[in-house]
């Protein structure tokens, strides 16, 4: 599967890497203040922020891993992508414009203002020191593994090289450089994959969507099977919805996009624009290639090889180099966001608030750069550990994700939907929800959940989210009513967005329903 590169393809990689590094240096002048460094001066247009949201969320692992999952499991995996069309609109209308109105640097800042400092601190500390370090290590390892698999490059040199490039332009140019390069990266990621999807679908042995659906085995061509490896269909669907709500509400690097938007309306658009990508474009570059590979390469050793095989088959010399650049872009677009989000949260939510107060902006920006370097070095270490035990670590990462996100997702959305929710309720909800999630991990390890699902990820998410919300409501009801707090203009309305944004949201929900109907028409298992 390994392919060598031509001199022009090496030059493409050089042009891209030099371009993003120069951009980091060019944007350096915008990073003298914390808002400039961490949130691009809060002046990013909504549509650009939406491109950046997609680039941040999708990375090389998704293009290989999710395509591989579709290859192995079938069209049912597409629910992960389609459900984002609904979830992103809900989170955009309920939460994101609100976060932007408060001018905070992270979700932790909003949780502090909505509930209490303890709730915000809990979020910031868990994300900064547990999840982000581990997650960046996984990104680095995943990106390096892709290049190692496709091109035969040394895994550890890739880990170090990619990390240095990502850290350099991120720390030099701040979020402005990250957002600007994200737009370039999304073009380079999607362009070759759109061609691969089109060529695969129109291969004479496939015969378009109708031919694909007719030729696929029954295990792969039903969007609505009764049971899946994640449990029954309702568990899969509700689990994905709850996981999506938690992820898009809480994941620090994606939440930075609405926060850097120029106004609350642009903040909502940053998420709803991403919903358009997920509903309309991503299925054709991830789901279609994965399904086509089932027919074209039925005996692959691993599902993750599906996309590289398709790239080799359909992209000629020249375009192949663009695909390699796209995979490098896929890594950088996620890693840079993670590094910037860490710098932002560590400096504003932990260092400035808990450790050293009252210093000038230059001091804090300088500290964030040092912290960013240390964080990247630590993440390289994490990537090295992951490379020694990749299977166990990936499972561990998924468990951590399903443990920490649903409790914070539940209290964030409850904080918006129910003004009576109190700080004590949120703390109790977090504590008992977190314990429930950890408890379910042990119960699953003992095999007690085997009858429900072979992979209990979504079952755990549903239970954890529900328990957290339930405990928060019960404790809040017996607690004193929360004191009156100052709220910014527009925050008192539930949806709080302009009519234009509400129309966009309604249209997007209709589009998502049409997308479901379209794919169900072809893939209904008959």
């Amino acid at each position: 599967m390994e392919g060598s590169l031509l001199i022009t393809e090496w030059a493409m990689i050089g042009v891209f890497v030099v371009g993003v590094v120069l951009w980091g240096m060019r944007m350096h002048g915008n990073t003298t203040t914390m808002e400039g460094a961490f949130l691009a001066g809060r002046r990013v247009p909504g549509i650009i922020a939406s491109f950046s949201t997609v680039a941040t969320n999708l990375n090389a692992n998704d293009f290989l891993g999710l395509t591989g999952a579709v290859y192995v499991v079938g069209i049912v995996m597409a629910h992960i992508i389609f459900s984002n069309g609904i979830v992103l609109v809900i989170v955009a209308l309920l939460l994101m414009h609100r976060l932007r109105r408060y001018n905070v640097y992270s979700l932790g800042g909003w949780l502090e203002k909505r509930y209490a400092p303890a709730v915000g601190n809990a979020y910031s500390i868990i994300w900064t020191f547990v999840w982000m370090l581990f997650n960046l290590g996984l990104y680095i390892y995943g990106g390096a593994l892709v290049l190692n698999t496709m091109l035969g490059w040394n895994l550890y040199l890739c880990i170090v090289g990619l990390s240095i490039v990502a850290a350099f332009y991120t720390l030099a140019g701040g979020l402005g450089a990250v957002v600007a390069t994200d737009v370039l990266q999304i073009c380079l990621m999607f362009f070759p994959l759109v061609i691969v999807g089109y060529m695969a679908l129109h291969d004479p042995s496939i015969g378009g969507l109708a031919g694909l659906a007719a030729k696929l085995p029954e295990t792969h061509n039903n969007l609505w099977p009764e049971t899946t490896k994640f449990g029954s269909l309702p568990i899969l669907l509700f689990g994905m919805i709850f996981m999506g709500l938690s992820y898009w509400s809480c994941e620090a690097q994606v939440v930075q996009r609405p926060l850097c938007a120029k106004d609350p309306e642009a903040a909502s658009i940053s998420y709803m624009g991403a919903a358009v990508w997920y509903a309309l474009i991503v299925p054709f570059v991830i789901v279609v290639p994965g399904l086509c590979a089932v027919l074209l390469f039925p005996d692959l050793e691993k599902g993750d090889y599906a996309m590289p095989m398709l790239v080799h088959r359909y992209l000629p010399a020249g375009l192949y180099g663009v695909a390699v650049v796209g995979l490098i872009a896929g890594f950088l677009s996620s890693a840079d966001s993670q590094i910037n989000a860490f710098c932002s949260m560590f400096t504003t939510d932990i260092y400035r608030k808990l450790l050293v107060k009252g210093r000038g902006e230059e001091h804090y920006v300088g500290v964030s750069r040092v912290a960013g370097v240390v964080f990247t070095l630590a993440a390289i270490g994490t990537a090295w550990i992951v490379s020694r035990n990749s299977d166990g670590m990936f499972l561990f990462a998924v468990s951590v994700l399903a443990t920490i996100m649903p409790p914070f997702g539940a209290i964030s959305l409850l904080g918006v939907l129910w003004h009576r929710a109190t700080a004590r309720g949120a703390i109790a909800g977090l504590a008992i929800g977190g314990c429930t999630a950890v408890g379910l991990v042990f119960v699953a390890q003992k095999g007690y959940l085997a009858d429900i699902a072979s992979d209990d990820l979504y079952f755990r998410t549903i239970i954890t989210f529900t328990v957290t919300a339930f405990i928060t409501v019960i404790v809040s009801m017996v607690d004193h009513a929360p004191p009156e707090r100052e709220i910014p203009e527009g925050d008192e309305r539930l949806l709080g967005s302009s009519p234009r944004v509400l129309r966009f949201g309604a249209a997007m929900l209709c589009v998502t329903v049409l997308v479901y109907l379209f794919w169900t028409y072809y893939f209904h298992g008959a």
Binding site: F16, R26, P316
Partner: protein, 76 residues
């Protein structure tokens, strides 16, 4: 230096335009390299894709420099 002078726009047109133009040109050049054997369909694919990247790159650069003349940042 004032903030308005120090702060630059995101420069999306310049960055994207320059990189896409160069990568597009490299895609177009690749079939001409000695020793490269491509089918007619593969050659056409390279030409179309390379031309598209190069064209979009030129367009973005033109938009960027037109925006500079009128004093508007292309990200604002």
């Amino acid at each position: 230096m004032t903030d308005s002078k120090r702060n630059k726009g995101l420069g999306l047109g310049l960055l994207n335009g320059a990189v896409l133009l160069l990568i597009g040109a490299l895609v177009l050049i690749t079939p001409l390299l000695p020793g490269i054997v491509l089918t007619a369909q593969q050659r056409m694919l390279d030409n179309v894709a390379g031309g598209l990247l190069l064209g979009v790159g030129v367009l973005l650069l033109m938009l960027h420099f037109a925006g500079r003349k009128t004093g508007r940042h292309d990200s604002e």
